[in-house]
Amino acid sequence: MTTLFTILFDGVAYGMLLFVLACGLAVTLGLMNFVNLAHGAFAMTGGYVCAVLVNNSGWPFFAALPLAFVVSAVIGVALERTLYRHLYTRSHLDQVLFTIGLTFMSVAAVDYIMGSSRIFIKLPAALEGQFDFFGVGIGRYRLMIIVICGLLTVGLQLILAKTRFGSRLRAAVDDPRAASGLGINVPQVFAFTFAFGCGLAGLGGALSAEILGLDPYFPLKFMIYFLIVVTVGGSSSITGPFLASLLLGIGDVAGKYYVPKMGPFVIYTIMIVILIWRPNGLFGRTAAR
């Protein structure tokens, strides 16, 4: 029974992490209908920024996290303004080729600069080890992830639902023409959203170094996971991707625990079955436009 709870706990932590990593993609891919396979590269950037700051410059872990967000977001907005912007109206094939190209470049560049081995971030002592909670082993680090990611999720939902920017974004996504007719600066809204999504990915990358492992092949290894979150979750709100991430996280952890030999087999099968059953995702609304 306690192992079940531990699996559930680890699964939720993993799922939350995936959500933070992928929710930026949910916006670009799900809402702006731009196939961005390079999303993992932004996550990797955040992870490496955090690692360099903490390990080499001696920054405290919690001070390095916001900077991971900022650096990824800045790179994101720079790329959006210079490159991505031209590709919004192009075919999916072009978008796929372009973003695969970016991913390959980032992988090789990081390999060149940082070396190809897996990198670890030195954690503060307070985050190491685990404690017992009614007999269930709770990892401190995972608990922190759940807290941070939970807060972020609530915050995102509030921003989208309650603020002026949220309603602008939803309007811009629903009908960009009508939105710009109403005086909403659609490109600006998209650029900001894109940057924010990249920042979140960077933050997720920094947080995930401990759990998922950080090496130059990160963007390729986890690309499929991000895509699963978005396609299975659908794009109507952020609740869909959130539930999909939790499902994926718990499924993956449980799968690895109970049928370790099947490896990632379980996840891919679930994904294919869900996509056949509901091509627009579990919580999807309409087909991508």
Partner: protein, 343 residues
């Protein structure tokens, strides 16, 4: 009412062999005698060309974007490897066809998943299938040899007559003949009414179905055929290198393939062939500069291609050969017309 004869005469005109095409194949054959010391790399190019041809069938003609085409390549490769390793079918040509057929069956079965949904779902499903096969290959490492791959494959002589030699001469001519035969078949298919209906589907599926084209059945058919081609390419890989490892399923393989096809241009069959040559030359060139970071340059090429625009780039690339041919042939003969420029 006179639209039909016009369409058919147009199609007939397109399917006629042009001078440029004959020149292309003569050139390929000439390479065999011009560079006798480079059979291995030329065989590599031929295999890649066949694989890219297979992707062109679904991407260029039916508009299906696949990120997991390596799945069929891998299945073909392992089939050929296992057949030879366990001595089930030792004759390479029969084994080749058998491996192609297995990949074809897989293609047929998975095509039902692929035709559902939009581009994104297709991307995911094709990618998922390739990853699934890779995971399966790892899981059943007692059969596939795991990450080490199949080892100790010995190929019997082709048709019992031509043994594979260490310089790869037999392998080269074998691959060339297979490629040429399959190219002829593909050429016949895409210029048939079936091929025309595929183009209609690619341009507008809704309209195609409105004029009575059975969209799903056509897509299943071409996807199955493409899987057969990819399977053959995979089997050729195993037979000419006596090697099969889990790399064949890797995502990089599918992504490289896309680059090959994009370099050559989609939708006119020669794209895969030209792309394979360019790709290998690029690979040679970049790996002499920085062998370890070759991935970076691939990525850069992809990004630049997309930013410049695929159509524009092909017009530039084809400008010189077409000019030469026009001068020689004196007519409107062209080597190749990318899809977008086709009349």
């Amino acid at each position: 009412m006179n639209a039909l004869p016009e369409v058919s005469s147009h199609a007939m005109a397109r399917s006629r062999w042009r001078g440029g095409e004959i020149a292309f194949w003569v050139l390929v054959l000439a390479c065999a005698f011009l560079f006798p010391s480079r059979y291995l790399i030329m065989t590599d190019i031929l295999r890649l060309a066949l694989f890219a041809l297979s992707l062109d069938l679904i991407l260029g003609y039916a508009g299906i974007v696949s990120l997991g085409h390596a799945a069929f390549f891998g299945v073909g490769a392992y089939c050929a490897g296992l057949l030879a390793l366990h001595g089930i079918i030792t004759e390479p040509v029969i084994a080749l066809v058998a491996a192609g057929l297995v990949a074809m069956v897989l293609g047929f079965l998975t095509s039902f998943l692929v035709i559902r949904g939009v581009d994104l779902t297709r991307l995911m499903v094709t990618l998922g299938i390739a990853l699934l096969l890779e995971a399966l290959g790892e899981r059943f490492s007692n059969i596939t040899g795991g990450t080490d791959g199949l080892q100790g494959i010995e190929m019997a002589p082709i048709l019992g007559l031509f043994a594979f030699d260490m310089f790869g001469k037999t392998g080269f001519f074998y691959s060339l003949i297979v490629l040429f035969l399959l190219f002829l078949l593909a050429r016949r298919v895409v210029n048939s009414p079936f091929g025309l209906s595929l183009r209609a589907i690619k341009n507008n599926p809704l309209r195609a179905s409105a004029i009575g084209v059975p969209v799903n059945r056509r897509l299943i058919a071409i996807y199955t055929l493409a899987a057969f081609y990819a399977g053959i390419a995979g089997a050729l890989f195993t037979q000419t290198t006596a090697l099969a490892s889990l790399d064949v399923f890797a995502f990089e393989k599918s992504a490289d393939l896309m680059l090959v096809l994009v370099l050559g241009g989609t939708g006119y069959l020669y794209g895969g062939l030209i792309g394979a040559v360019v790709f290998k030359m690029l690979q040679e060139f970049f790996s002499t500069i920085t062998p370890q970071y070759w991935l970076f340059w691939i990525g850069l090429v992809l990004v630049v291609i997309v930013l410049v625009g695929r159509d524009r780039m092909h017009r530039w690339a084809l400008w010189l050969p077409n000019l030469v041919i026009r001068k020689i042939a004196g007519r409107k003969a062209v080597v190749a017309v990318p899809e977008s420029d086709a009349p």
